[in-house]
């Protein structure tokens, strides 16, 4: 009973908020180019569904490609850092530098250097998201119990056996946490890059939908694109959260 109530609560709250919002817009006669009501937004969404859908797909494609690349890059760097202290001390500061530099600041450079627009967007999103995977995976690799390392050594295990049969499986939960964080970060990175690219005349993704709607003062459509972006973020987070739960339950199941 109480579990069901808890599950329904966010939707009920959202619905009530929507009703109040629409009511307030009606009562105060606020024009839709200032604050559109939910009905206006729904209409805008319906009318522009083709363009918005295409924008969403394009943003998700960038996010997905970036997440994959971040996984490969982050895990590779984490493993290399765990294997070689020299590599770690050489690379770690630079990874932090890349991480703390705001992506808006380097996106124009990346877009000029990379040239190919889709690739440039992916690179920007990777810059934002790979560190979450790198640092979490590295923490997981470092958390491998030293006794098990000793046990592997006593039985003549090779470095690869230690890596694939011990360290990486131990790092899996940490990696999955990093992946979940990286998912939303990659989306943010993709949208920021789209904004930068959009201001340079390259039209792509949900960011472009927002820019274009704002140029034309189509505020309901802008809201529709924004909401879609929010939904995409929640969706990615929920999806990766489910992945994390399922994988860990399957791994640790009694």
């Amino acid at each position: 009973m109480s579990r069901n109530v808890e599950r329904v609560a966010p939707f009920a709250f959202g619905l009530i908020a929507l009703v109040l919002w629409q009511g307030a817009v009606w009562v105060t006669h606020t024009p839709s180019y200032v604050v559109p009501g939910p009905v206006d937004i729904a209409r805008a969404f319906w009318e522009a569904q083709g363009a918005l859908g295409a924008g969403l797909l394009s943003t998700l494609a960038v996010t997905g490609a970036a997440l994959l690349s971040s996984t490969v890059l982050g895990v590779f760097l984490a493993v290399a850092m765990a294997a070689s202290p020299l590599f770690r001390s050489a690379v770690q500061p630079w990874a932090v530098v890349v991480q703390v530099t705001p992506v808006v600041a380097i996106a124009p450079l990346i877009i000029i250097w990379v040239g190919q627009p889709f690739l440039a967007l992916v690179v920007c999103a990777v810059v934002v998201s790979f560190f979450a995977i790198l640092s979490n995976t590295a923490a997981g690799l470092a958390a491998t119990p030293p006794e098990l390392m000793d046990l592997f050594r006593l039985n003549g295990a090779t470095r690869w056996q230690v890596l694939f049969q011990l360290s990486l499986p131990y790092a899996l939960p940490y990696f999955l946490t990093g992946l979940r964080l990286a998912g939303t970060l990659a989306l943010v990175g993709a949208v920021v890059a789209e904004f930068v690219a959009g201001s340079g005349g390259f039209a792509s993704g949900l960011a472009w939908e927002i820019i274009e709607a704002s140029y034309r003062l189509q505020i309901p459509r802008m809201f529709a694109a924004l909401l879609l972006l929010g939904a995409a973020g929640v969706g990615i987070y929920a999806l990766l959260g489910t992945l994390e739960r399922v994988v860990l339950a399957w791994r640790n199941g009694a």
């Binding site: 098990l148 000793d150 046990l151 592997f152 006593l154 039985n155 003549g156 640790n252 009694a254």
Partner: protein
């Protein structure tokens, strides 16, 4: 089996853990390394296993030579099982690492599990096992490659009294059946007195061997209540009163 001559160990940070350890360990003996916390028992055990090297002195291994990979069974203070693998898979690990096929290895895994009284629990994951059962899996993992030398580092330290007594009796039975050489680290006077036929009493850091006792207790059910056992406990207690700084 092997001889320790003049073993000393100083760590990189300057900590002197061991100094002037001389001892001879005969094949088939059950040796207890007994000493207060921090006296270097684990350090000595790691030296025997080859997980670390002494900074002074040497370990000579007689004509059988230094045990190869898998010829030493090592039981840690915690069970340290792979949490994602079931009991059988955990016990199979040492064999798998040395390339023993599943077909050849699994019967040995089952035998090792049976030896520690865990038949029927092959497919239980560590989370589904009690602390004592996890320790048994860990012991089975050390036994599966049938090592001639079994090194155990306070394996029963974290268990309750009842489980500990049971596992101690099981270990004694196993040792008598198989004739393995056992080096057993403990900081419990009672445990050392009950199990070992050779007790090395160590001083506080830096660890040296203060005394070596070679007790003979009656075998069988009466052992734990025998007068000889109680006398031995009293004797070791007296030794420690002399060794430990007031």
């Amino acid at each position: 089996m092997f001889t320790l001559s003049g073993i000393g160990k100083q760590f990189g940070n300057g900590t002197k853990a061991l100094e002037g350890i001389n001892a001879e360990i005969a094949p088939g003996s059950f040796v207890a390394l007994l000493g207060p916390s921090g006296c270097g028992k684990s350090t000595l055990l790691r030296l025997l296993a080859g997980l670390d090297t002494p900074s002074r002195g040497e370990i000579s291994w007689g004509h059988a030579g230094r045990p190869a990979a898998g010829e030493i069974g090592y039981v840690f203070q915690d069970p340290t099982l792979l949490p994602w693998a079931d009991a059988a898979e955990n016990v199979y690990l040492p064999l798998r690492l040395r390339g023993v096929s599943r077909a050849e290895g699994m019967p040995r895994v089952m035998a090792a599990l049976a030896q520690v009284g865990l038949d029927g629990f092959e497919h239980a994951k560590p989370k589904a096992l009690s602390g004592g059962m996890r320790m048994r899996v860990s012991i089975a993992r050390a036994l599966v490659s049938e090592p001639a030398l079994l090194l155990m580092d306070e394996p029963f330290g974290a268990l309750d009294e009842f489980t500990r007594h049971k596992l101690q009796d099981d270990l004694l039975g196993l040792w008598r059946r198989t004739g393995k050489t056992v080096v057993f680290v403990t900081h419990s006077i009672y445990e050392a007195a009950y199990l070992a036929n050779r007790i090395m009493i160590m001083t506080p850091r830096p660890g040296r061997i203060a005394t070596i006792l070679t007790p003979e207790l009656p075998e069988g059910a009466g052992r734990r209540n025998s007068a000889a056992y109680h006398r031995l406990v009293a004797e070791i207690t007296g030794d420690f009163q002399r060794i430990m700084p007031a």
